[in-house]
Subunit: 332 residues, 2 copies
Amino acid sequence: MRIGELGEFDLIDRLLKAAGTPKIEPPLGPGDDAAALRPSPGMLLLATCDSQVEGHHFRLGSISGEQLGQRLAAVNLSDIAAMGGKPRWALASLILPTSLELEFLEQLYRGLADVLHHYECELVGGNVAAGETLILDLTLMGEVLPEQLLKRSGAHPGDVILVTGELGASAAGRAALEHGLKNAEAEELIRIHHSPEPRVAAGQLIAAEGQATAAIDVSDGFAQDLGHICSASGVGADVTEASLPIGKATRTVVNALSLDPIETALNGGEDYELICTVPPSASLLLIRHIREAIGLEMTRVGTITAGSGCRLLRPDGSRVALPQKGWQHFGA
Amino acid sequence: MRIGELGEFDLIDRLLKAAGTPKIEPPLGPGDDAAALRPSPGMLLLATCDSQVEGHHFRLGSISGEQLGQRLAAVNLSDIAAMGGKPRWALASLILPTSLELEFLEQLYRGLADVLHHYECELVGGNVAAGETLILDLTLMGEVLPEQLLKRSGAHPGDVILVTGELGASAAGRAALEHGLKNAEAEELIRIHHSPEPRVAAGQLIAAEGQATAAIDVSDGFAQDLGHICSASGVGADVTEASLPIGKATRTVVNALSLDPIETALNGGEDYELICTVPPSASLLLIRHIREAIGLEMTRVGTITAGSGCRLLRPDGSRVALPQKGWQHFGA
């Protein structure tokens, strides 16, 4: 059934059913003019929004409804993770072409709710409106203890730069999809590209450890996002090319497509890994704690410097300005 | 300048400048992965989102950037008003065609921020992405004392149905715009249609008075929105046709366009007035308090009944089912 055959309120009912019953009832969820929520005493409220636009962030036909819902949740959860927060509540605002299949949308809602519920986050409201292309906009609210808030602005010269997981996997997956590459590695990376895993637990652990001086998630691209930390903190950075965590599958796929693995890792974007800076004395302990607590590797990829600008230390000993070609909307 | 000539981060800088400096600094506003906000102790957090879609809610060329920003703020503020809340923080998520003029967008941001600031609400974050048509999505967060929360679900048989201001003015303005009607009344109503006044102060006064059993704002249309109160409360309603507050300008314009004033008032929608239900003993006092505090008229338009369904009492004494033809997205 196409959604144009349903009325707005029937559609909302179907979507709420697809999302399933919340595990924890908010004081007042969907069905009134606004959701009414009970913030935890003493916590800061975190609020972020991020959208997925058909033809720009995804293509209908190459992503399942479930994956698209998971992706919508993940890109927003990642922003809360980068602040050290615990996700709590989400609002989904959907712009829907009337020709869209209800089944696709129900799957999308299931994928969205599954990922949110996994992080104990409830879908408490939203909005639907008709439009020409499919646009999904999620607002995510979370909470964090004021003393644990991770900002972009506290990095100090001498701090070690750490990054979770791997870089370039999502971009390699996107490239595999665009070039129609089909093998086991490509499929794995396409899956990562379609439903990235937000580093929510890592963000909370980093925040609780209390040593990180700055943090950000990698959405636009590692080089660009590290650049955001540097501008906000008034510092520079040296990044060691050889230390960039690039997985085997990523290397295989970018080689098969004649792409540069370093360029892919630095500027591919949509990794949804966390970059954080910590004093050198704290870095080994933090890496060990994260590994022991959740089995996630963090890699030391460079050092914060005085001054400004990011540099890349090449294996031949040369030092070049870190190329920043990551994702920006609106060209220029 | 078209926004496609700017990079994403330059664009965001320009928009933040257009929005002006917040009067009250949140703990952490735009410029990090999420805004960090300090909820007031003991208050419930209200959260809502509503979008304005080019070609559906507005047409470029017939609305100024400033009015569009005002409208985006107003439709969301109205939802917080309907819960009795005080608006606090907003996130703006924009989908922007690269051909859009920067000046239009800056004006839009100015209009948005002006209305938000008027209600002591701060724009604390957002997102921009490229897309084919202009889509504006605002998330608004507010606060309310738990005991003052206005819901849709508490109306009792015998309660009086009150509505603020006038009905049908926005729809008459929309019709005037579509038919190219140009006279003083039409211009006044087009202005109301483009930048409606959300009933924020009235909502808070109604909530503080503590007598209202249910409330909703009129967005889809009076008949439909009253229907939402009735379904949520498990009651019916009798509405007296002769009591519907229809202004002189609205009557003049709908007559000039051969439209039905009653139909316009009942189903025109986008009035952003508040409907509330109160026990009969409290209604006169509430009407007087609102008039004295903010100079706003409330009109008694009917009575909540046992059972279900809304009926319209015609001037000839007949009683018909309240026609519900208000706005629903997705046809059906």
